[in-house]
Structure formats: structure tokens, C-alpha cells
């Protein structure tokens, strides 16, 4: 690579990521076996959903451009932004992506594209107003890292499987209502079997959702990690996150005296809050990401790898 400093791999993170993917695979294998055992016609559903997923996968950059109202900008229109992204792309060892600007004051940035050769990086007007140059570089490095890690592909596969399950769930529901599917079998038997498949589908769908969400959270940490490698400045990504996430708005205006006596009277103990909600979010808590980045910075400043 081009002078990019490699950090020690976050082995726990990588293990958990692979474990999640493995669990996802196991889950769908079991599901497929149940369906196969019941001689269920899966092919045509797979074809429809697969086609949709492929379309989404190959058209993702254009879809997002249309959907978000971003505009592609050339090197002549935005020389500074292009120079910055080009420099980072060279450091990351990937081709120059397309660059787009979204005309909103909400500070944000995103990347899309099925592989590094077909990537798009977009920033909003708001993020350029609010961040310093180093912070913007750090955010762009994070987005380039998403592209380099091929997170779009991972997400597309995960979403495809979950979408397929939800498709089946709906179909089975209707077939239960109207008693469809395979009249060649004994009716009573068949009804019970469909009921069973329906229950399995719901469970698979739910667990699948949780696993995909966990996976995207790990990809987010992964992009923070390799993004910090690309720009060499985890602290700037941390402070950028602090600025754009609006975490400061959480700091209250209330006086502590009003709390009177503490925890004993709270219905939900403080230690429990924030536990369950984190299972259902696509992004890890900003505070956790900032903490990891700060740790990375510390490792870096002490020369540890």
C-alpha cells in the first residue's frame, strides 16, 4: 500500500463479525432444509427476489443519486473536494470514485457502489460547513473504507436473505388463509405443515434481522478502523463524529439537585438503559465508536501496532 500505516487487527471484532456471518449461514441452511423436507417450491420466489436484489446491487449508485437528490460534481466544479478524495483514494490503494454533493445543511456523508471501480462518495453541504479539513478527510476516509471493504456486497447478501424470508412469510400467510399449495396431499396434514413452516419463517425472519443489524454495526466499526488507517488520524474522525452526531444535544439543562435521591426510586435502573435498544440499531452507539477511535489514537501515539 501507499504509505498507509497498518494498525493491529481488532481480532475480537473480526471474530465476532465472522461468527455473525456464520450464524446467518447456519440459520438459512436450517431454513432451506425445513423447506426442502416439505417439498416447497422455492425456486420462483428466489428468482423474483434475487432479480430485485441484483438490480439494486448493480444500480445502487444511480438509485441513491436519484433517491437522495445528490448531484455528481466534476473536478472543475469542485477542485478542492476532488483533490482531497483523490489523495485519500491513492492512499487507500483504490481508484478515484465518483464524487457527489447533496444540497442540504444536515451534516452527513455516504458511500455506495458494488466495488471500488464503481463507487460513489457523496457529502452534504452541511458537513463541509461544519468540519475542519482534517475532520472532513477523516469522514471521507471512513466512507472510502466502506467501499474498499465491499460493505455494499455484504449488506446486499444479508438483505437478500432477509427479504426472501419476509416474502415467504407473507405468501404463507395468504396460503394459510385460502388453503393453497399442493392439493395432491392430504388436506389436514398439509395445514399443520404450513402452520409449522409459517412459525419457523417468523422466527428465522426475526433472528435474521437481528444478525444483519449486528453485521452492519461491525462493518461500521471496521470502516472506522480502516478509515483511520487511510487518513492516519483517528482523533479527527472522533471529533467529527462528536460534531455531526449531535451528541452534545443530549447534555441536559437540568440541575442535579432536582434528582433528589437517586437510583432506588427509578423504575428502570440506570445500568439497564441502553441495553436492549442497541440490538436493533444499524449503527453502533456514537459514544462507543468515539471511544474505540480514541483508543486507536492512543495506540498510535505510543507507537504500538
Amino acid at each position: 500500500m501507499y504509505g498507509v500505516r497498518k494498525f493491529k487487527r481488532d481480532s475480537g471484532l473480526v471474530t465476532r463479525m465472522y461468527f455473525t456471518m456464520f450464524m446467518l449461514g447456519v440459520l438459512y441452511a436450517i431454513f432451506a432444509m425445513v423447506l426442502w423436507a416439505l417439498s416447497f417450491p422455492i425456486i420462483f420466489i428466489g428468482a423474483i427476489v434475487g432479480g430485485m436484489a441484483l438490480f439494486q446491487y448493480y444500480m445502487s449508485d444511480k438509485l441513491i443519486l436519484w433517491g437522495s437528490g445528490s448531484k455528481l460534481v466534476t473536478a472543475e466544479q469542485e477542485p478542492e473536494l476532488h483533490r482531497m478524495i483523490n489523495r485519500l483514494a491513492v492512499r487507500a490503494g483504490m481508484p478515484m470514485p465518483k464524487v457527489a454533493i447533496m444540497n442540504t445543511h444536515v451534516p452527513n456523508a455516504f458511500a455506495t457502489g458494488r466495488n471500488p471501480n464503481n463507487a460513489l462518495v457523496a457529502v452534504t453541504v452541511g458537513i463541509r460547513e461544519r468540519l475542519t479539513e482534517r475532520e472532513l478527510e477523516a469522514v471521507l476516509s471512513h466512507e472510502l473504507a466502506h467501499v474498499r471493504n465491499r460493505d455494499m456486497r455484504v449488506l446486499a447478501i444479508g438483505n437478500f436473505l432477509v427479504t426472501m424470508t419476509s416474502f415467504l412469510m407473507t405468501m404463507l400467510f395468504w396460503s394459510m388463509l385460502f388453503g393453497g399449495f399442493g392439493g395432491h396431499r392430504d388436506r389436514n396434514n398439509n395445514g399443520g405443515a404450513i402452520m409449522l413452516v409459517y412459525l419457523v419463517t417468523i422466527i428465522v425472519y426475526f433472528i435474521g434481522q437481528l444478525l444483519v443489524l449486528a453485521l452492519t454495526r461491525y462493518r461500521e466499526y471496521g470502516a472506522d478502523h480502516s478509515g483511520a488507517e487511510i487518513c492516519g488520524d483517528p482523533a479527527s474522525l472522533a471529533s467529527a463524529l462528536e460534531k455531526i452526531s449531535g451528541v452534545m444535544a443530549h447534555i441536559p439543562s437540568e440541575d442535579l439537585r432536582k434528582l433528589q435521591t437517586a437510583n432506588a426510586f427509578l423504575v428502570i435502573p440506570v445500568a439497564l438503559t441502553g441495553g436492549v435498544g442497541s440490538l436493533f440499531s444499524t449503527h453502533p452507539r456514537i459514544e462507543d465508536r468515539i471511544r474505540r477511535l480514541r483508543e486507536l489514537e492512543q495506540r498510535m501515539s505510543f507507537g504500538l501496532r
Binding site: F19, S239, V247, M248, H250, R257, R294
Partner: protein, 202 residues
């Protein structure tokens, strides 16, 4: 177990001292970097309750603990009442920061041992900060408070910009909190719990 490892980790067991003592090392390290200088003062705020003997005779109880008793750190103190809120402050003063921290801990511990653990609200330490809070602003000798909440067993920074409730310098607090956390200080993660204490008497 697998799920716990997969989706996050459980908080470790914490005691008042294991958390409160993290400010000592953070202060030393930040002082070595020239970013922090200690003030000599700290305080403890609690809901006063004269029906508890220890709180009724507080001055006599504290004298041996902080000053006259064997092994006492010779920490000076004074009491400060807030009639409107029913709260009372013990303001302590000591030139040695680690003595000051252990005095505050000892007093809180003694109150807890005498039936007043539910009355304890917070311990507050004062430090002066010098440095850049982000790219644009440099602060020199900024007065900052570090609040230890007994119910949460964690610290957070508090930088009031005035005496009116709600006036605080949030960006500086966020910046300070990450500096202190980097130096090993135990900082409350949930910012919604960072309630202020306006009108600190020191």
C-alpha cells in the same frame, strides 16, 4: 454467554473508590502535559436530614475524620447550606490533590456507614484547564468541575458559563471528557445523565 459476547459486554463491578480514584491519575497525567492545574478545593453535596445523628452533629463528626484524628489528611473544611434546595455542601480544601480526593471519599464513606448513603448526591472536584478545545478556541485557566454522581458511580465534566440553570459550555465538556477518558478516568457514557450543578459555592 455467546449472545452477551456477540452483542456487547456487561459493565464491570464498580465501587466508589475504584471510580473516584481514576481522577487522581488523570489529573497527574494531564498536569504533566500542562493541560490541567488543580484548584485546592472540592465539595460534597447531600440532602440534609437533621433526624440522622451523624448529619445533625456533622461538624463534630468530620473534625477527627479530616483533621484532628490519627492518620487524617489535615484537610480543612467548611459547611455551606442551601436552604432553598434543602441541600448542604461540605467544601474541603487541601493542597495535595490525592489527599483531597481521598478525603472526599472518606467523608462520603463515613456518611454511608452512618445511614446517610441515600442522602449523598455528588462529589465535585475543581480543576483549571488550559488548552485548545477544538481547532478554533484556546482556553487558558478555564474553571472546570468534575462531578462524581453517587447513584451512577461515574464522573462527568461540568463547565458552567453562568449561574443561570442551563448555562453550560457543552462543546468544551465533550472535548474535556474525551481527554479525561483517554487518561483512564471513568466518564459517564450516557450524556443525558450529565446534569449540572449551578451555583457551586467554591
Amino acid at each position: 454467554m455467546v449472545l452477551a459476547r456477540l452483542f456487547g459486554k456487561r459493565p464491570p463491578d464498580r465501587t466508589d473508590w475504584s471510580v473516584m480514584s481514576t481522577i487522581i491519575r488523570a489529573e497527574q497525567r494531564l498536569m504533566a502535559r500542562g493541560e490541567i492545574s488543580p484548584s485546592r478545593r472540592a465539595g460534597l453535596i447531600f440532602r440534609n436530614d437533621e433526624s440522622l445523628p451523624f448529619l445533625r452533629d456533622l461538624k463534630q463528626e468530620l473534625d477527627p475524620i479530616l483533621y484532628t484524628g490519627p492518620g487524617a489528611t489535615k484537610t480543612a473544611f467548611e459547611l455551606h447550606d442551601e436552604p432553598e434546595s434543602g441541600m448542604r455542601w461540605i467544601v474541603m480544601e487541601d493542597g495535595d490533590f490525592s489527599d483531597l480526593v481521598s478525603s472526599v471519599y472518606t467523608v462520603g464513606n463515613a456518611m454511608g456507614a452512618n445511614g446517610a448513603s441515600g442522602n449523598l448526591l455528588a462529589a465535585v472536584f475543581q480543576l483549571y484547564f488550559t488548552g485548545a478545545v477544538d481547532d478554533s478556541s484556546f482556553r487558558s485557566g478555564l474553571r472546570t468541575y468534575w462531578i462524581y454522581r453517587y447513584d451512577l458511580k461515574s464522573f462527568y465534566p461540568f463547565v458552567p458559563t453562568g449561574d443561570a440553570v442551563g448555562d453550560r459550555d457543552r462543546p468544551t465538556e465533550v472535548s474535556l471528557s474525551s481527554r479525561a477518558r483517554r487518561q483512564g478516568m471513568s466518564i459517564e457514557r450516557n450524556m443525558e445523565e450529565w446534569r449540572g450543578l449551578w451555583g457551586i459555592p467554591f
